[in-house]
Amino acid sequence: MSKTIRIGSGQGFWGDWLEAPYRQVVDGPLDYLMMDYLAEVTMSIMQKQRSRDPSLGYAKDFVPLMRRLLPELVKRKVRVTANAGGVNPEGCAEAVLNEARSLGLKGKVKIGIVSGDDILPRLDELFDKGHKFNNLDTGDPLSLVRDQIQSANAYLGAWPLVEGLRLGADILITGRVTDTGLTLAPMIHEFGWKEDEWDRLAAGTVAGHIIECGAQCTGGNCLVGWERIPDMANPGYPIIEASPTGDFVVTKHDGTGGRVSVPGVTEQLLYEMGDPKSYITPDCIADFTTIKLKKAGKDRVGVTGIGGGPATDSLKVSISYNYGYKAVGTLIYSWPDALKKAKRADQILRSRLDKLGLEFEEILTEFVGVDATHGKLAGSPDSNIAEVQLRVGVRSNDRSSVDRFSREIAPLILNGPPSVTGFAGGRPKVEEIVAYWPALIPKTEIHPSVRIVEA
């Protein structure tokens, strides 16, 4: 039998189930634990934290998690790939090293730090060289928001992590590495795949896509047969059993809840999908129309046939910038005439905002329970509906307008339509909007680096 390795997903996003990574490590055999922490605007949150305290700027929860995991990781020889480093992978690694030392693991833990993704300090230089960073959605040049930029990171692929594994890292802490690269790297390292073995790189990329959202492929958020998915109080997180040919099996530890099935894995394959023939990563282009799925036993799905093509010569860049402010206020109106009351309250509120001369880019009203998720497709509600939540959101460049809006909700309780409640949360919070600006940069401008540090 050819060699297989087991790569488990422990976090589908920053804030995912804290029990999941621990259980992945202790509930059964595992070779690698991958954890995805970075969503599109997470980097800007981290950049803000770092500007207040230069030792921060990474996923802080990763540190206590590693304190809990490290003894088991060392004992069981499980290696970790995680993009928890955010905009400060060095600081994150330092914090984890301190935990390792305090646990008496001196000399037993090597951390690989992958960086080179952060181009915020280089933006002027790159602008001078003529890079425009045109927005991939709108085509606008980045110069339009130059003064509002909070963070700028190129998406690195699997190869810098492969180098880290080759250098003996037990734990790889990275900045903005693609979710799929965290899963693909161990396969390249273990099986010796080459940079132009596109089908295999595509297979590893598809494996990464399947497990990057954690339990979303093992029964979580799964529509098909959702009521019959067993023991979702104790969901198993996904594991890829990878083989050198690129074929792999999606499974989970025995004795855990949830379900690994062909329909469930199919749902996850289609999650956040664009053109299925062209799933572009820094490492390759994967063709999702080649994927073959087959049940391969209880809670096992075999994945074969994956094809792919050469990587492009650019990397995606994720830029965040200050956009303005928003706030959302809610009130609940009860039977009788719940919807009528909520609609009247909305009219009154808008009339008051209008008289105050406040400036908004958008005011959005939704009636939760009636039209918030499906709009008019939901049809007319039952006239006896028990309650309706009025939900009004505003967005503006002008902070004071949004602040004043947030003070116009509570008065409606006493000076608007009757049978209103649900204001326990207090005045709506005024939020700063950090928006996302996707762009491209030639690969030749980005120089990933790996550094090994030891406890």
């Binding site: 599109e40 605007v41 959605d137 958020n221 529509l223 098909v224 329909p263 199919t266 749902e267 996850q268 394959l269 289609l270 999650y271 956040e272 999908m273 664009g274 053109d275 299925p276 023939k277 999702f288 129309t289 080649t290 994927i291 073959k292 799925l293 046939g305 956009y323 928003k326 959302v328 958008e362 959005l364 939704e366 939760v368 918030a372 998720t373 499906h374 709009g375 008019k376 497709l377 939901a378 939900r391 959101g393 505003v394 967005r395 909007i433 950090v434 928006a435 996302y436 996707p438």
Partner: protein, 126 residues
């Protein structure tokens, strides 16, 4: 699962068909990319896939979401997975952190598509 709501109907060719909601033929998952929502529509049985492919067209889906999305609809086929993928542009009120919508990430656009009704042969067992 909603109650089955089918009614007999004669087509122009005189063949008996029935009208059925997609939720009885498919499951779905959706996600976001900026202001675009994607909906993956997956046949509950392989024999339903050709029906989805012929009936759930780009134009039909655009009509279904008229007034709800501001942009175009794109459709991609994945016969290997018995699935279609739709991109609904201008679906998320600006998308991401800009959006004021409850479903700013388009997480439940999938179920909004499953409300659509299509004509299937009377003989189709669902």
């Amino acid at each position: 699962m909603p109650k089955r709501n089918t009614t007999k109907k004669k087509t122009t060719k005189g063949r008996a068909t029935k009208r059925i909601q997609l939720v009885h033929l498919a499951h779905a998952r959706s996600g976001d990319k900026g202001d675009t929502a994607n909906v993956g529509l997956i046949a509950l049985k392989p024999e339903y896939y050709p029906i989805l492919e012929s009936q759930v067209t780009r134009a039909r889906v655009a009509r279904h979401f008229k007034g709800i999305i501001t942009g175009d609809v794109e459709r991609f086929t994945l016969p290997n997975l018995n699935a279609l993928n739709f991109l609904l542009h201008g679906a998320l009120g600006g998308g991401g952190t800009l959006s004021l919508k409850t479903d700013a990430q388009g997480k439940v656009f999938s179920t909004a598509l499953l409300r659509m009704e299509i004509d299937v042969p009377r003989s189709l067992r669902v």
